[in-house]
């Protein structure tokens, strides 16, 4: 067997650890794909037959090469895994990788013949590329602060891992009408863009402390953006998987398959109405046996054991030490203010490593950066890491009195940009520079806008601002739910950009509204600048752009953008 030797992972990093059965499964799955590649090269599979098979292993054919999308299960990663991703980037790609809005990582310059060996290297650290594409249940996403956030009610990682296992090579739901994305959170605060998903789950507890799930269904972006609607208020833990099966079964039977733009569950739910869809799910539930689908407490307990709290140290005077350090160093204070989040454990914080340097490529990390972050994670965070849907990395558990040393390490690696959640923390899809589906470039637009916004931010302090860019209507850059959304389109053979305002992904979810005619490639960054200058002129003290927009409406922004000079 050409398997790579198993690489040890840091003891206290809480990633799901494969046992012998999981490893055997993965080795078998790689053998299957190795055989599929061989059959394709030998001509036994046509491209039409091979395409869905390679997609189910995360392999696309993009503009310049094959692209391998590797699953980071619910965005949870450890240092050994990140180091291995760096190794893969060096050995089989061009020395870097791209973190995505789906909390995954993509390698852009892959050769088909190398992919089986890359999958072996991933398996050596319990990773794979299964179901990162294709019309199947995709990698479940969750809160990048899961297991750490001060406001968490129940740990979503446990159920995200259960969903991962349950959906892996699911016999019934691997040939769905279209892709299927599930997001799950355990806090009231929605940091996962819940309502843009096919199914959004919120883990809750009832008055007695028992776990249950609020389920929303039918969200999605793309050509027809729709926000998910409530389906179930509280599904008991034991019935979680059966409920998911019933939802998927109704979708598999009735989802449209002829028109790719009408094939997502959002269209089915919209067409049937929420009540009509619920009725069908309940008919299914009424007849499905419970026993085979019952999520037993011992299963939950066994999975939960993988996510036990790491051995936190007593808080001591960590908070006071942090306060002294921020007073001494304003730049550090700015980074702490923007890039750290409160932790449930006294004396700790979660630290965000921005992959959004001003003028840089959103979500890109070089192999050297991955290695540097892996080292820092081991020194300061039990070797544990997260990927956020905003294309940043997170060290979930850092002692407050070690944040300064961490920050210095990040400075040395060029990763200390203090902009999490700010205007220059732009989400952008790969766009026409890489993607075979794109109509227009996203990354260079993001690079231009980040410079414009950063300059404005330095004098005017814009505060929380979400700018998101998609290079086509598939909306991988989440532009529909951006405060300022930018959509690249093809206008008579030239790149053009539509701007939408007022969208949001979280508890205040909304779809942005188109402000007017599109802008050229050269003009779009200037248009964003005009929008922000208008906001600065109109805002109440401390008011975010999106709140100003919602208060005053489109008119002043339209005026600024389109009035004749």
């Amino acid at each position: 067997m050409p398997e790579a030797p198993y690489i040890p992972q840091p003891e206290h990093a809480r990633t799901y650890r494969y046992d012998a059965v999981d490893r055997e499964f993965l080795a078998q799955r790689i053998a299957e794909f190795r055989d599929q590649v061989a059959r394709r090269l030998a001509g036994e599979l046509t491209e039409d037959e091979f395409k869905p098979l390679r997609l189910m292993n995360g392999l696309y054919l993009q503009l310049h090469a094959y692209m391998l999308r590797v699953a980071v299960p619910y965005g949870v990663l450890n240092s050994a895994q990140l180091r291995q991703l760096g190794m893969i980037a060096r050995r089989w790609d061009r020395g870097w990788g791209h973190f995505t809005t789906r909390q995954n990582i993509q390698f852009n310059w892959t050769q088909l013949t190398d992919v089986p060996a890359m999958l072996d290297a991933l398996a050596a650290v319990d990773m794979h590329a299964i179901q990162t594409s294709g019309n199947c249940i995709r990698n479940t996403t969750t809160d990048e602060f899961a297991g750490a956030a001060a406001d968490e009610i129940a740990d979503p990682r446990v159920y995200a891992e259960i969903l991962r296992q349950w959906s892996t090579l699911h016999p019934e739901f691997t040939w769905l009408p279209r892709k299927f994305k599930i997001a799950i959170r355990g806090a009231e605060a929605d940091r996962i863009a819940s309502r843009t998903h096919d199914v959004a789950v919120q883990v809750k507890r009832d008055a007695a402390g028992a776990v249950g799930f609020t389920i929303q269904v039918g969200g999605g972006m793309g050509r027809t953006p729709i926000l998910a609607v409530p389906l179930f208020e509280f599904v008991p833990e034991a019935e979680f998987l059966r409920t998911m099966e019933a939802i998927l079964r109704v979708y598999n039977a009735l989802g449209q398959r002829e028109n790719i733009y009408r094939a997502r569950i959002k269209i089915l739910v919209r067409d049937l109405g929420r009540d009509g869809f619920l009725d069908l799910v309940q008919q299914e539930l009424a007849r499905m046996p419970l026993a085979p689908y019952r999520l037993a407490p011992e299963v939950v307990q066994a999975i939960r054991a993988h996510f036990a709290p790491p051995p936190f140290a007593p808080a001591g005077d960590a908070a006071a030490a942090l306060a002294r350090a921020t007073l001494a160093e304003p730049e550090f204070a700015a980074w702490v203010a923007l890039n750290t989040r409160p932790h449930r454990q006294a004396g700790y914080a979660s630290a965000v490593i921005s992959l959004k340097p001003v003028g840089g490529i959103p979500g890109d990390a070089t192999a050297a950066q991955m290695e540097a972050v892996a080292d820092l994670a081991e020194r300061f965070a039990f070797g544990e890491l997260r990927v956020s849907h905003t294309q940043n990395l997170v060290l979930p558990h850092v002692r407050q009195d070690e944040l300064y040393a961490l920050w210095q390490g990040l400075l040395a690696a060029g990763l200390a940009t203090a902009n999490f959640g700010q205007g220059s923390d732009i989400i952008a899809c790969p766009g026409l520079d890489y993607c075979a589906l794109a109509n227009a470039r996203s990354i260079p637009i993001s690079q231009q806008i980040s410079r414009v916004v950063d300059a404005l931010d330095r004098t005017h302090v814009l505060g929380e601002l979400q700018i998101k860019i998609s290079g086509c209507i598939n909306a991988c850059g989440h532009h529909h739910v951006a405060h300022i959304g930018i959509l690249g389109v093809d206008k008579h053979g030239a790149e053009a950009y539509q701007i939408t305002l007022g969208g949001a992904p979280g508890n205040d979810a909304a779809i942005g509204e188109l402000i007017g005619p599109s802008f050229s490639y050269e003009a779009v960054a200037g248009a964003v600048e005009k929008i922000l200058l208008t906001h600065i002129g109109l805002r109440a003290p401390g008011e975010r752009f999106v709140d100003t927009y919602r208060r005053v409406g489109q008119a002043p922004f339209k005026e600024a953008l389109y009035a004749r000079a």
């Binding site: 799955r29 037959e49 349950w166 699911h170 016999p171 598999n252 039977a253 299963v299």
Partner: protein, 163 residues
Amino acid sequence: MPVLEKGALRADDWQVVDDEAALPDAPVLISLARLLRDAALLAGRNAPLGVAIGNDVNPDVLAPLLPRLALVQVVLPKSRDGRAFSQARKLREYLGYTGEIRVAGHVIPDHYAMLLRCGASTVVVAEGTDAAVWEASRKVVSIAYQHGLAAETPISLLRRKVA
């Protein structure tokens, strides 16, 4: 075309009969429309009866007729159209059907293990098919993470041996 069953090819012993043609006293495969139209007439028939259903059919419509059916044929008109997987599962899981479920259409070896786990019994394959390729594909992944309807042995809380 031959039929693949439990790793071996055999001749198809079912005759497809048009909606208006007379039914021979042999195993026949008829359309759903005819089955529903002639349900009363067919009640007295002794030779085995099978029905071919389209992928847009809810198997619920077969419920009262299932005791009379020895074969239900489902179809994948395209290799990526997976409605048949749910149809097979519903037939087995709660409609109580125990006869043969046969899969026709654009079926590839990579579907095979999952079709069996959804309760399918046989696959209609092209002339010249190498059964060994299908068997190899069926066996390559022997572990599953969820409940299925093929012969399965639980090996841990969430996992099963399937091949």
